[in-house]
């Protein structure tokens, strides 16, 4: 496997969606290619950081306001049935 092919399959490799023979070829390439190892490691780190950073929540006051509006619509719809 060459670098271009490894990069093409990188996400499938990360997600463990490559069949075993391709995964083995990818592992062999990564063992001897520092640049592709860097791309793999930094992509995996980026995913982890995004997961942690991306966990934003609706701020409490806005969440309460939203819920009260949605709950009112729910109750109104129930009363209409």
């Amino acid at each position: 496997m060459d670098c271009k092919t490894l990069i093409t399959y990188l996400s499938d490799y990360i997600d463990r969606e490559l069949d075993e023979s391709l995964a083995a070829e990818a592992r062999d390439h990564l063992a001897t290619c520092p640049n592709c190892s860097i791309v793999l490691d930094s992509t995996q780190k980026m995913i982890l950081m995004s997961k942690l950073t991306g966990q934003v929540a609706i701020p409490k006051a806005r969440r309460e306001r939203l819920w009260s509006e949605i709950e009112a619509a729910f109750n109104e719809r129930n009363a209409a049935d």
């Binding site: 990069i7 860097i38 991306g54 949605i70 719809r77």
Partner: protein
């Protein structure tokens, strides 16, 4: 478990509805705010999605999951708002199928955790995600932040699983490259400081 929840929703059980809001409102908000870059508009998408749930729960098909259904409704509402915000943006635009090869080969993944988890790094990640096209951003958020499967993401966004994989791959490589540029500068500063 989910079937019981859906049955309770169909019977308009207030506790079930409150449960669904508690479980999914932040998830829907994250998708919406990442697409719209507007907190108020993202709140509007959350509201639209739950109003749709109130109106249409009886039409919900149990072969889909409730999460996927909610994401799909939220995505459609976010798209409508996005078209209104930026009519010139083609939401399905994702250039060609060629994947740009990585160029920056610095190993920033071994930088100290403090640098990787600091507020500035977090801001860089959010900015990098915001520079992706909406179609790549939606896939990245659902797959890598919300951890939906390829199939559930495809269903939520109304695209083929193959398109999810291609877009996710493009998004990951683009984000890695953008962050590599940022950490290259950081590492340069760190190196300069030590010498």
């Amino acid at each position: 478990m989910e079937q019981e929840l859906i049955a309770a929703l169909r019977q308009r059980d207030p506790a079930a509805f409150a449960d669904v809001f508690a479980t999914y409102s932040d998830k829907i908000y994250r998708l919406a705010v990442s697409l719209l870059h507007d907190e108020q508009a993202a709140d509007g998408v959350v509201q639209d999605t739950f109003l749709a749930l109130i109106e249409h729960i009886h039409t919900f098909e149990e072969r889909a999951s409730l999460a996927t259904w909610l994401y799909r409704v939220a995505y459609n509402h976010a798209q409508t708002r996005l078209r209104h915000q930026r009519p010139q943006v083609d939401l399905d635009e994702w250039a060609d199928d060629n994947i740009a090869l990585p160029e920056k080969m610095i190993d920033w993944s071994t930088l100290p955790e403090l640098l990787l988890t600091g507020e500035e790094a977090k801001a860089q990640i959010m900015t990098a995600i915001s520079t992706l096209s909406p179609s790549l951003r939606a896939v990245f958020i659902l797959r890598d932040v919300e951890e939906l499967s390829t199939e559930a993401t495809a269903e939520a966004l109304g695209i083929q699983p193959g398109a999810v994989k291609v877009r996710l791959h493009r998004a990951r490589l683009a984000l890695r490259e953008t962050l590599a540029g940022y950490f290259e500068e950081i590492r340069g500063e760190e190196w300069t400081a030590k010498h």
